[in-house]
């Protein structure tokens, strides 16, 4: 089992969670605003796609355009320390070099802790963030709502165009990814209003690569 991307020391855990704290409000959950101020141009993805190997190409592209040295992935639920370190002696935190491969990315998610194969991140991680060392961009995903949100500081940065990974506007995300997770696909008004208030500015502002409803990946 490859262990390299997994953080096993407390100093590394503290360093990467602190860095992520400059981008995300890790104690918040959707529909609250999970990005720090200054992040904008929100775009939306299907949660599961961020666990696909082709998503590594998106991360690597972001890293190249922003000069990142590394890309970190933090599992916020289950708890990265109490659950992961407590049970498996490794934190729910991964740190990939910029030149890592899609296979290494995928293998890390599929890596099964000893005697607990269902605890591979692929299956058990439910709230995850992805970000680069430049702190210029980030992705926040929540499995229960089937969605991930991308944000960046610099409006001039373009979201990568990678085959099989489409970024969508909020309306499409609501209809296609979020609604199916609610009974009869009815999203509570309060949830929806808060989501729109916090993330609706993505519409028509994301460099022309955001697909509209009906476009397929």
């Amino acid at each position: 089992m490859p262990s390299a991307p997994f953080i096993v020391d407390s100093a590394g855990f503290a360093r990467l969670t602190a860095r992520a704290g400059e981008i995300f409000c890790a104690d918040r959950r959707l529909p609250e605003q999970v990005f720090r101020s200054g992040f904008k141009d929100f775009a939306f993805l299907e949660f599961d796609v961020l666990l696909f190997r082709e998503f590594w190409d998106v991360l690597a592209d972001c890293a190249r355009s922003c000069g990142d040295e590394d890309i970190s992935v933090i599992v916020h639920e289950p708890d990265p320390e109490a659950y992961y370190f407590g049970n498996f002696q490794r934190y729910g935190v991964l740190d990939f070099e910029r030149n890592a491969t899609a296979t290494e990315y995928k293998q890390a998610f599929l890596a099964e802790p000893e005697n607990s194969p269902a605890d591979a991140l692929q299956y058990v991680a439910s709230v995850i963030s992805w970000s680069g060392s430049s702190r210029e961009w980030g992705f926040w995903g929540e499995r229960d709502f089937g969605v991930a949100i991308a944000a960046k500081r610099n409006a001039n940065m373009s979201w990568p165009e990678v085959a099989g990974v489409s970024l969508f506007d909020l309306d499409t995300a609501v209809e296609s990814f979020i609604a199916p997770n609610f009974e009869d696909e009815k999203i509570p008004q309060e949830f929806l209003a808060k989501l729109r208030r916090n993330f609706a500015n993505a519409r028509n502002k994301c460099d022309g690569v955001i697909a509209k409803s009906g476009d397929h990946a």
Partner: protein, 227 residues
């Protein structure tokens, strides 16, 4: 012999048309059924004889593994089953009252040519039988609910998580559970289901299906909440 082969040939020939969504009924196979499931068949259509038709498919207790992503296989199998059943009824009962059995065969033949218009003959005999089976918890339904933009095929079902897991366990799938008990994985012959309850939203639990050798899910099954 002709009686056995004819429906297969008809259905296979007619079910080549492109199709877009699936609706599948699954129920316990009657042992006395003339087309009962056999272990040798990966996914066998069967039909229960009776005063009113009750229809279904048995897929080795694995309702999704033996469907293809487009639903083509299931539809084809269903078409074969319906036509076979019509012919069986004709052979054992003749034309039936008012030529009912001949009409049913005609309808099923026509339905086989239409994507997912499976089983028109059975509908003719009375859809209430299927409804009653569903009410009695003996039939399960899987419907395509995939949305635009989704990379995963989504299927909505009236099967609960506990029923679903029971079926997998009885089908010989090996279970492993996460330390927090929220995720249960089932593996068999390289395929995998990852079943989880959702903690926050109000819909039911889900089961992600991985085909053998796939490292990403192919189908997301949206299970019904346990009562």
């Amino acid at each position: 012999m002709l009686l056995r082969v004819l429906p297969l040939l008809i259905a296979l020939a007619l079910s080549l048309a492109p199709k877009s969504q699936a609706a599948v009924f699954i129920a316990s196979p009657p042992a006395s059924s003339p087309l009962a499931a056999t272990p040798e068949n990966a996914c066998t259509a069967f039909l229960e004889d009776g005063s009113e038709a009750r229809i279904g498919l048995l897929c080795h207790n694995d309702p999704v593994n033996h469907t293809d992503p487009t639903g083509l296989a299931i539809d084809t199998i269903a078409d074969i089953g319906f036509i076979g059943y019509d012919i069986y009824k004709l052979a054992t009962e003749g034309g039936g009252q008012g030529g009912e059995n001949w009409k049913a065969l005609g309808l099923d033949g026509a339905a086989a040519a239409i994507p997912f218009a499976t089983g028109a003959g059975v509908a003719f005999r009375g859809v209430k039988a299927a409804e009653r089976a569903a009410e009695a918890g003996r039939a399960s339904k899987y419907e395509d609910s995939t949305k635009a933009g989704s990379r995963l095929i989504n299927r909505e079902t009236n099967v609960t998580r506990s029923q679903f897991e029971k079926n997998l366990a009885e089908g010989g799938w090996q279970k492993s559970v996460s330390k927090d008990g929220k995720v249960a994985n089932y593996e068999k012959d390289g395929a995998k289901y990852s079943v989880r309850s959702d903690a926050k939203s109000t819909s039911g639990p889900t089961a992600d299906y991985y085909k053998p050798g796939h490292d990403k899910p192919d189908i997301k099954i949206r299970l019904k909440k346990d009562e």
